[in-house]
């Protein structure tokens, strides 16, 4: 990579307030954050720190916030559900703690889902791309299995294959190793490092210091703010 990498995420003065049980909760109190292409960033914080809220905003899952958000150089202006859905579909791959695979679909169908919803390619082409991503994750022998028939590690690898199927600009992982034993967790982190080495932009939310150390950069969130001196 030569020259200064383009910023993928530019957040400035992001605030999020909601009411819970008649009490006003300031979940985020002015977050400024820039993430450049190819970076592997860990967002760390205790539960309730606001790190998940931040992830939802970065992942365009939550459009109710104040402040400015530029994704891939352009401001996120159109916050209509369908516009956000399209952006999530094309530009962001999600990896969740509890995998969030659809239990009634096979691994292949699960992995093909974002491509199918994108609607750019025929169903056969979508499955072909999904098969290729699953092959890279070592799941070629498991294409027709349902998630229930796989180990947790295999499930998370299937979920990563699904996240990559539309070749997104950004991979968002929310506690990707939270439900895994340490050996499997290491496997998953190795895969993420491999993706990072291949040039992917990754953001990983975790509460686990050891996991965060894998990333090249760690941002600490405390009480809805990036804690000073550690960014």
């Amino acid at each position: 990579m030569t020259g200064a990498p383009e910023p993928v995420i530019e957040l400035s003065a992001i605030r999020k307030t909601y009411t819970k049980d008649a009490a006003i909760v300031h979940a985020l109190r002015g977050i400024d954050l820039t993430i450049k292409a190819g970076e592997f960033t860990a967002i760390m914080g205790r539960s309730g720190s606001g790190k998940s809220t931040l992830l939802h905003i970065i992942g365009l899952l939550d459009a109710e916030y104040q402040g400015s958000y530029r994704f891939n150089g352009t401001p996120v202006e159109d916050r209509s559900p369908d516009a956000l859905a399209q952006r999530r579909n094309r530009d962001i791959g999600f990896v969740f703690q509890s995998f969030h695979l659809l239990p009634q679909l096979t691994i292949l169908e699960n992995a093909a889902l974002p491509a199918l919803y994108a609607g750019d390619r025929s169903a056969d082409e979508c499955r072909e791309v999904a098969r290729e991503r699953l092959r890279e994750m070592g799941l070629l022998a498991r294409l027709d299995h349902k998630p229930m028939e796989l180990s947790n590690g295999q499930r998370q690898r299937a979920a990563i294959a699904r996240a990559l199927v539309n070749a997104p600009r950004l991979l968002l992982a929310d506690e990707p190793t939270g439900a895994l034993d340490s050996k499997t967790a290491d496997e998953i982190l190795e895969i993420m490092l491999e993706l990072h080495r291949g040039g992917a932009t990754l953001i990983m939310v975790t509460h686990d210091r050891e996991v965060a150390e894998v990333a090249e950069r760690t941002i600490h969130i405390l009480d809805g703010q990036t804690s000073n001196g550690m960014v």
């Binding site: 939550d62 559900p81 999530r88 999600f94 969030h100 659809l102 009634q104 889902l113 199918l116 919803y117």
Partner: protein, 402 residues
């Protein structure tokens, strides 16, 4: 672009079918509810149509082309329809195919030692066709016998059975007006309905004799009733008007006549049966409504149960529209399958019963179309709210973060 939209739709259709199949037990029960609703609508319309066909058949059996004219009461009415009116009708009113004036009296006839009252009707040979009479045995009298004033008679079925115990009487004669009338045949009404609607003078014990013979032997100056057959059902109103005009022109104003056709009965019967059918449809539509509410209920449960599924799909970039369409399709498929089964049930059972009993049971194509369309519309209507609920879910909550 169109191809892409088709592919998108097919994808959502597949998701919808997958979801229905995944919960087949529940889906079947929902479909059953819709099927019963649809079947009851189709069935009820068939019953209504059957009733209407029966009544209309009765009336048409008497003759829907028939117009009849009569004075409104002997003795009270100064003038009745007279012998000269009849040719005047034929000459002046267009659209008359046949005309049959009837003279009537009655006589006590000894039957098996008892005297019984027998109606004697003087009719022209056209009466047979105009009144839709069936000659059971022998023959009707001819134009020639009528012209000659021959002493022949045709007996009603009832009279023949009373006299001879059979509708095939021996070569015999009957004493009327003090004279011997040779029995040439036995008739019955073409449709029992003539008696049913109480418009038959030939019901019960009756003997028909030639019009001219009656006229020669009796001092009656007036015709009891004139039957006029119009060429087509459409010509009936014109014939009624024409006959009315002639009568008004030829008789004094104070005389009262009735000129009627069965059209009014036909219209009435159709109106009544339509009202009854509509009422029944309204009642059976309630079951369709209940089926629709069943769909909404199931869809709401489904949406709640599949919160996580919906959240995942939304997160992966299925738009609200895709979720909405998927759930609408699920509801529409449930109601469509229910509708098809209902139509098969609602039309099939009447068909089968009709086939068993050799009755042609009418199944209205319209009712099938309507039931079909309505069932899908019900599915979409009652599926809309759950589908919107699914599509507008908060993704973060749906994913289980809340």
């Amino acid at each position: 672009m169109a191809r892409r939209a088709t592919a998108w739709f097919r994808l959502l259709l597949r998701f919808a079918v997958d979801a229905i199949v995944a919960q087949r037990g529940r889906s079947l029960l929902t479909i059953l509810g819709m099927a019963i609703g649809t079947a009851s609508v189709v069935g009820v319309v068939s019953i209504g149509l059957l009733g209407r066909e029966y009544v209309v058949g009765l009336i048409e059996g008497v003759g829907s082309n028939l117009v009849f004219a009569y004075g409104t009461g002997r003795g009270v009415n100064p003038e009745e329809i007279d012998f000269d009116d009849v040719p005047a009708f034929v000459a002046a009113v267009p659209g008359i195919q046949a005309i049959a004036p009837v003279l009537r009296t009655s006589e006590l006839v000894p039957i098996k030692g008892e005297t019984q009252q027998v109606a004697i009707l003087g009719v022209t040979p056209a009466y047979e066709q105009v009144r839709n009479m069936v000659v059971e045995s022998g023959r009707f009298f001819s134009e020639r016998e009528d012209a000659q004033g021959a002493k022949v008679c045709v007996l009603s079925e009832d009279l023949a059975i009373e006299l001879f115990g059979s509708t095939y009487p021996p070569d015999a004669s009957l004493r009327l007006f003090g004279l011997r009338f040779r029995i040439v045949g036995v008739f019955r009404e073409g449709v029992e309905s003539a008696a049913a609607v109480q418009k038959s003078e030939a019901a019960g014990l009756a003997a028909l004799i030639p019009f001219a013979t009656f006229r020669n032997l009796s001092d009656l100056r007036y015709v009891d009733v004139v039957y006029i057959q119009s060429a087509t059902p459409q010509a009936v109103p014109g014939v009624v008007r024409g006959v009315t005009d002639i009568i008004t022109a030829r008789h004094r104003e104070i005389s009262n006549f009735k000129i009627e056709s069965l059209d009014q009965y036909l219209v009435l019967a159709q109106r009544v049966s339509r009202a009854v059918t509509l009422g029944l449809i309204a009642i059976s539509a309630v079951s369709l409504l209940v089926g629709g509410i069943g769909i909404m209920n199931i869809m709401l449960v489904t949406v709640t149960e599949r919160t996580s599924d919906i959240g995942i799909r939304l997160a992966l970039g299925a738009g609200q529209r895709a979720i909405m369409v998927q759930f609408l399709l699920e509801a529409a498929i449930l109601s469509l399958v229910g509708g098809v089964l209902g139509v098969i049930l609602g039309a099939g059972v009447p068909f089968y019963v009709g086939w068993l009993y050799g009755v042609a049971v009418p199944v209205s194509g319209l009712s099938v179309t309507v039931a079909f369309t309505v069932s899908v519309a019900v599915g979409l209507f009652f599926g809309f709210y759950p589908a919107r609920k699914a599509a507008s879910m908060n993704i973060v909550d749906a994913l289980g973060y809340a």
